[in-house]
């Protein structure tokens, strides 16, 4: 079942001089089992939106439907909030800062133990999750603070996926990583998606939007600016959203301006463009 967001609004510090409306009455759907990107400028409400999705903050008005759960302004009504958080998990930006246990395996198992798993079962599952994110066995007994940045992040992600959420939200999962590290994380995300999980990625990287996502949502000053496929987004006018157009699209748009008959809405990668160019006479 898709995630339905109905007339969602959120106001920070309501009734104070510092009041900020982060989200203005937004409604859209996030398709199930797909990779959805949420993009927008800094302060556009992306982080607020994802935090309402698993009930970390209660919306000021409006509601969110995620399978059996309905998040409204009154979180107390939602009795199974812990269940919701297991169902919808967030990997925050720079998740390596939330590591704290003595060893890598203990840190990954920590989440499971909060959900009442026994120590041995939790450790066993933690090992599975760690191998999924490509952390070598020799690291399991080491302190997470000894690892490199990319490794720490993979351990932190393992700490979330070990809960086996159906919806996985990642806030800028590649921020601050080198290209290789980013690639590893993005491939991991693709793997989870293949296992049928719904993925939501908050990002500023338009190449992730174009190459890795099935659906894209654009927020602009707390309002919904666009919801659709990445190709449709870049084929339209994006100048007012302060987002970059990927190099491939800039090139295709230039070709089109110069009278080359390419169909931008059908381009997803270099191969599509090459195929179209080959087909031209």
């Amino acid at each position: 079942m898709a995630i339905k967001i109905n007339h969602l609004s959120y106001v920070y510090l309501q009734k104070t001089p510092n009041e900020v409306q982060a989200l203005h009455d937004i409604s859209f759907e996030i398709p199930e089992g797909k990779i959805t990107s949420i993009v927008g400028h800094t302060g556009s409400g992306k982080s607020t939106l994802i935090q309402t999705l698993n009930g970390l903050i209660a919306p000021t008005s409006g509601s969110i439907e995620i399978s059996d759960f309905i998040v409204t302004s009154n979180l107390k009504k939602l009795k199974k909030i812990k269940e919701l958080r297991k169902h919808v998990s967030i990997v925050f930006q720079f998740p390596e800062y939330q590591l704290f246990e003595e060893t890598v395996e203990k840190d990954v198992a920590f989440g499971l133990r909060n959900y009442g798993y026994k120590d041995e079962d939790a450790i066993k599952k933690a090992h599975e999750a760690l191998s999924k994110v490509g952390i070598d066995k020799s690291f399991y007994k080491r302190s997470p603070f000894e690892l490199s940045g990319g490794e720490k992040r993979r351990v932190a992600i393992a700490g979330i996926i070990v809960l086996e959420p159906d919806v996985l939200i990642l806030d800028e999962p590649t921020a601050g990583l080198d290209p290789q590290g980013s690639e590893v994380i993005l491939n991991l995300i693709k793997e989870f998606n293949k296992q049928g999980k719904t993925i939501i990625i908050v990002t500023h990287d338009m190449n992730i939007v174009l190459n890795r996502s099935d659906h894209v949502v654009v927020l602009n000053e707390g309002k919904l600016a666009f919801s659709g496929t990445p190709s449709d987004l870049f084929a339209g006018d994006v100048s007012s959203y302060s987002i970059d157009i990927p190099a491939l699209f800039s090139f295709a748009l230039l070709l089109k301006e110069h009278g080359v008959g390419v169909d931008i809405s059908k381009i997803k990668n270099v191969d599509d463009l090459a195929a179209q160019l080959k087909g031209l006479k």
């Binding site: 698993n54 958080r85 998990s89 925050f92 989440g111």
Partner: protein
């Protein structure tokens, strides 16, 4: 979480906000001291304290200090209030009137005066909180540290590193909101891993707290290292001479405010001296009999 932010600076533009912070600190000290002047007659004490209380309410209204956050901070204090109550009730005091017995607990007689005494001290405590709240919610933390540094300037003669103290203080203050945000962020991240900070037994809660405190320390230490490197990279020298972007200045309103506070202080002091000199100045008696008993 919002409890932690009580007394935080709220940027309204009122007369109280515009006062010179040095002046505000001095005024606060005078008001605090005057609250603890204690006259020996109950009726006079009550009238004087009530008068101060009304003035404080007036200042709070003038400065747009929220009463809600005052109540919130008071609700955090209930353990202290309870503790005070118990101390006053169970510690015998020869000054209590032996006829004013409220009830007995076993053989121990609980005196009415004990309740009055406890109520009086709690009342003054509340006023103390009101005063400090007025100061902190109308003054930017940076201005407060500048003012403190200004007061510490004379200590330079004895080579007291007033600048370093002020810098340390201002950095500490500057990091409070950052660390609060960080705390909130980590709490959210750990909640995503199923940590429940609000429910569960003691062991669970301590465990939950560990998952918050360790990452908080790690990030605070790495932040402080980054900050000190950044400061050194820009040539910071704690002993160097420096100018200041914001210059504190004393205006006419400051004078008015100061005179007002000094007047209150003076009035309270006069009553105290009269009280000590003539013993038992009864304000009520003055009003209704117009013949002072001295």
């Amino acid at each position: 979480m919002n409890n932690l932010t009580f007394g935080r600076y709220v940027p309204f533009n009122t007369v109280v906000h515009r006062l010179d912070p040095r002046n505000k600190i001095l005024m606060m000290i005078l008001l605090l001291v005057s609250i603890f002047f204690r006259v020996s007659t109950w009726s006079t004490a009550l009238i004087l304290t009530g008068f101060q209380f009304l003035i404080l309410i007036g200042i709070m209204l003038l400065a747009h200090v929220s009463f809600k956050s005052l109540f919130k901070s008071l609700s955090m204090m209930w353990i202290l209030i309870l503790f005070l109550m118990i101390i006053y009730i169970f510690i015998p005091n020869p000054a209590y009137n032996a006829d004013h017995i409220a009830f007995h607990i076993g053989n121990y007689a609980v005196n009415y005066d004990a309740f009055v005494q406890a109520g009086y001290i709690i009342f003054r405590l509340v006023m103390m909180i009101m005063i400090t709240m007025i100061l902190t919610s109308t003054t930017k933390p940076m201005d407060l540290t500048y003012a403190l540094e200004w007061y510490m300037t004379p200590l330079k003669i004895v080579r007291f590193p007033s600048h370093i103290v002020a810098m340390t203080l201002s950095i500490a203050l500057r990091f409070i909101p950052t660390l609060l945000d960080e705390t909130q962020r980590i709490m959210k991240a750990q909640s995503s891993r199923g940590v429940d900070f609000n429910h569960g037994g003691l062991i669970r809660r301590v465990r939950a707290l560990i998952s918050l405190v360790i990452p908080l320390f790690v990030s605070a230490i790495s932040r402080s290292e980054e900050l000190s490197n950044a400061m050194e990279a820009r040539g910071y020298d704690p002993y160097g001479k420096r100018s200041r972007y914001r210059i504190l200045s004393f205006h006419f309103v400051d004078l008015v405010g100061f005179v007002f506070v000094v007047a209150i202080f003076g009035a309270m002091l006069t009553f105290l001296i009269l009280d000590k000199k003539y013993m038992n100045v009864d304000f009520i008696y003055w009003i209704f009999h117009a013949k002072p008993n001295f």
